[in-house]
């Protein structure tokens, strides 16, 4: 029966025979979508007297919101930190391929690079909605260069920078523009960082603490100034210590303003973090966990040597190391692998009981389906 079009002419799609995660349980429920928005079916029925124009049979699969990856450095041979004249097609390729992993929106991430790279790459990345062409681009995540030399991980030391003043001038100089920057990872122990954090937060940019040797107090100050995220918890920061928990302590800190939540990214590929540590973090602060891939260009590529930013890496199985060392340099696990690993820990994903992605929808339209 067609909708009676009293509120909108747009067709309503009803996903039937699916299981929805609601109230922390998987429940048998239908899902109504119109123009990319999930509808409240009771309002639709009683207020609008409307019903679905089209039904999609989910065949008992789990229906979940599309995955959002806020830290992904590239994949399928594309490296977002490589200065190129056609960054847009690299972003498009990755955006298209990650639909298969259930990702419907992402933040292309750039690792520490010289200003020339940012100046060339950033203007070529556009914030855009997802669709048939691929996952939506939410904005860029710039991970560095304002990070700690002590905790640089795989980032090139020669391009690290510090703040010369509390304002945004150093960032503007380095990145060229803050226009499409959505997340900035920085080390809050750097001098003048408090002012920087405050200004970025006021501009609506998410400030994430990471690649830092900050103690808990410095981290808390940053949160009070507006920081709201932690970049790959446990990795590239001081380890948890019972007398100074460092950044990890933010998960249970009582100096976080009451109406705010500190979110923390976790690479749950089974390699970057021990499952026990994953569980400790999750149990301590379940509301804050955000799964990220931190995937590098080699995700989706065969084993061997590849470049990430200004450095060379080596792939061995599911591990990616800085060539010649045992320093992890990012993950090559896909988002759906991370979700599955985490389970033993309008934008929708259809999953079977083993959390394998069967189909991906953006704005209620099917944009990828697993071929059987």
């Amino acid at each position: 029966m067609p909708s009676n079009k009293s509120v909108s002419d747009a067709p309503i799609c009803q996903f039937v025979n699916c299981r929805i995660l609601r109230d922390h349980k998987l429940q048998r429920e239908d899902l109504w979508v119109r123009e990319g928005q999930i509808l409240d079916p009771e309002k639709l029925f009683f207020d609008e007297k409307g019903f679905a124009d089209k039904q999609v049979d989910c065949e008992g699969l789990i229906i979940a919101p599309g995955f959002i990856d806020v830290q992904i450095n590239g994949g399928f041979g594309v490296d977002f930190s490589q200065p190129s004249s056609d960054v847009a097609s690299g972003v498009r390729l990755v955006g298209h391929r990650i639909l298969e992993h259930g990702v419907t929106s992402f933040c292309p991430t750039l690792v520490t690079s010289p200003p020339s790279v940012y100046h060339q790459v950033l203007p070529q990345i556009t914030v855009q909605n997802g669709g048939q062409h691929g996952a939506g681009v939410l904005g860029v995540h710039v991970e560095g260069p304002f990070i700690s030399a002590q905790k640089k991980g795989a980032h090139p030391e020669q391009y690290l920078r510090t703040f010369s003043s509390p304002g945004l001038s150093d960032l503007l100089q380095t990145y060229g523009t803050l226009e499409r920057v959505r997340v900035v990872t920085l080390a809050p122990e750097l001098e003048h960082s408090t002012g920087v954090v405050r200004e970025l937060s006021q501009r609506g940019v998410t400030v994430s603490l990471g690649h830092s040797a900050a103690n808990l107090s410095q981290a808390e100050d940053a949160v009070q100034s507006g920081a709201s995220f932690i970049t790959h918890l446990f990795n590239a920061m001081l380890p948890f210590h019972h007398r100074d928990p460092g950044i990890v302590g933010l998960l249970t800190s009582d100096r976080v303003p009451p109406e705010r939540t500190v979110f923390y990214g976790m690479i749950s590929d089974g390699i970057h973090t021990n499952p026990a540590a994953l569980r400790i973090a999750h149990r301590a602060h379940p509301k804050g966990i955000v799964l990220v891939t931190d995937a590098i260009m080699a995700m989706g590529l065969p084993p061997g040597r590849h470049t990430l930013g200004q450095q060379v890496l080596e792939i061995q199985g599911l591990h990616a190391y800085v060539a010649g060392t045992k320093t992890l340099s990012g993950s090559i696990a896909t988002m759906d692998m991370c979700v599955r690993h985490f389970r033993h820990a309008s934008d929708l994903v259809l999953l079977d009981d083993d959390l394998n992605v069967k189909a991906t929808y953006i704005c209620g339209e099917e944009v990828w389906r697993k071929k059987t």
Partner: protein
């Protein structure tokens, strides 16, 4: 009256559902001629709704040309509240069937002018040509809908303050916290239900036995408002064994002896697939 006695709850629910199904299909509803159905809420009719949904899913019945009018709704409870009767009807019936939302009428307990809302409801029923079959339940205090003891037996749709018995009975839906149970409701009147061509009352469970006894073995009395249906030309009481516990053995034997007659109403059970 007809007193249809089944062994237990599920059989009673099924009998009632089959009866409703047959009534609708025999009526042959169409765009020019809608079947008007009065509906209850609560735990008693739940099994009946489940069976009706099953019949719809099997393709044996359609609600496309059925108009429904619910008996009641709480006053002041947000519509989206899980215990509102709107939520009950949506989750337990409407969302599973093919009824046109414009034809599903439930009183709005959050209307600005409650009296106007009640009058409008009566008007909608009249405009729909009256109710063919009104399905209802019975409270432990013998009420039909929210026509509490003392309600006029010729009453119409109006605002009622709930009796203590009713509030206590409903507390289990509000975390057993009496203070959270609504104290007022909009309800169809006894007279409104009496106007229906046919009335079917579902009564199951031992806790309803005394009310059933008062309703059918004693006189017509406004303290037990379901008793009003003794004066309706076509009433069916569908119950399980437990609900008959307070009746006279003679009454029960008589009506059980009539089951072969009653069962002709549900056997054969009709299907739109055969039309």
């Amino acid at each position: 009256m007809r007193l249809v006695i089944l062994d237990e709850y599920n059989l009673a629910s099924e009998w009632a559902a089959k009866y409703i199904r047959n009534k609708i299909i025999q009526f042959q509803p169409s765009a020019d001629k809608y079947f008007t159905l009065g509906l209850p809420t609560g735990s008693t009719p739940f099994g009946c709704y489940q069976k009706l949904i099953e019949y719809y899913k099997n393709g044996d019945i359609s609600f496309k040309y059925v108009k429904t009018f619910n008996m009641d709704e709480y006053v002041g409870l947000p519509r989206a509240h899980p215990e509102s009767y709107h939520s009950y009807m949506w989750n337990n019936f409407f969302k599973h069937i093919d009824i046109d939302p414009a034809n599903a009428h439930i009183l709005d307990g959050n209307a600005d002018d409650l009296d106007a809302e009640c009058q409008a409801f009566e008007k909608k029923i009249a405009e729909a040509g009256g109710i063919e079959l009104f399905v209802g339940g019975i409270g432990p205090d013998g009420h039909i809908a929210f026509n509490e003891p003392g309600s006029s037996l010729v009453s119409r749709t109006r605002v009622k303050t709930l009796a203590k018995d009713t509030i206590v009975a409903n507390a289990r839906f509000f975390g057993n916290d009496l203070s959270k149970v609504p104290t007022m409701a909009l309800t169809v009147g006894v007279g409104t239900v009496m106007d229906a061509k046919e009335v079917m009352i579902l009564i199951t469970g031992a806790h309803k036995a005394f009310a059933l006894y008062k309703a059918i073995e004693e006189g017509v009395n406004h303290m037990w408002t379901v008793s009003a249906f003794q004066q309706h030309p076509r009433t069916i009481f569908v119950c399980d064994e437990d609900a008959t516990l307070e009746l006279r053995v003679k009454t029960v034997k008589y009506f059980k002896g009539l089951m072969h007659v009653h069962n002709k109403l549900v056997d054969p059970v009709l299907s739109i697939k055969d039309q």
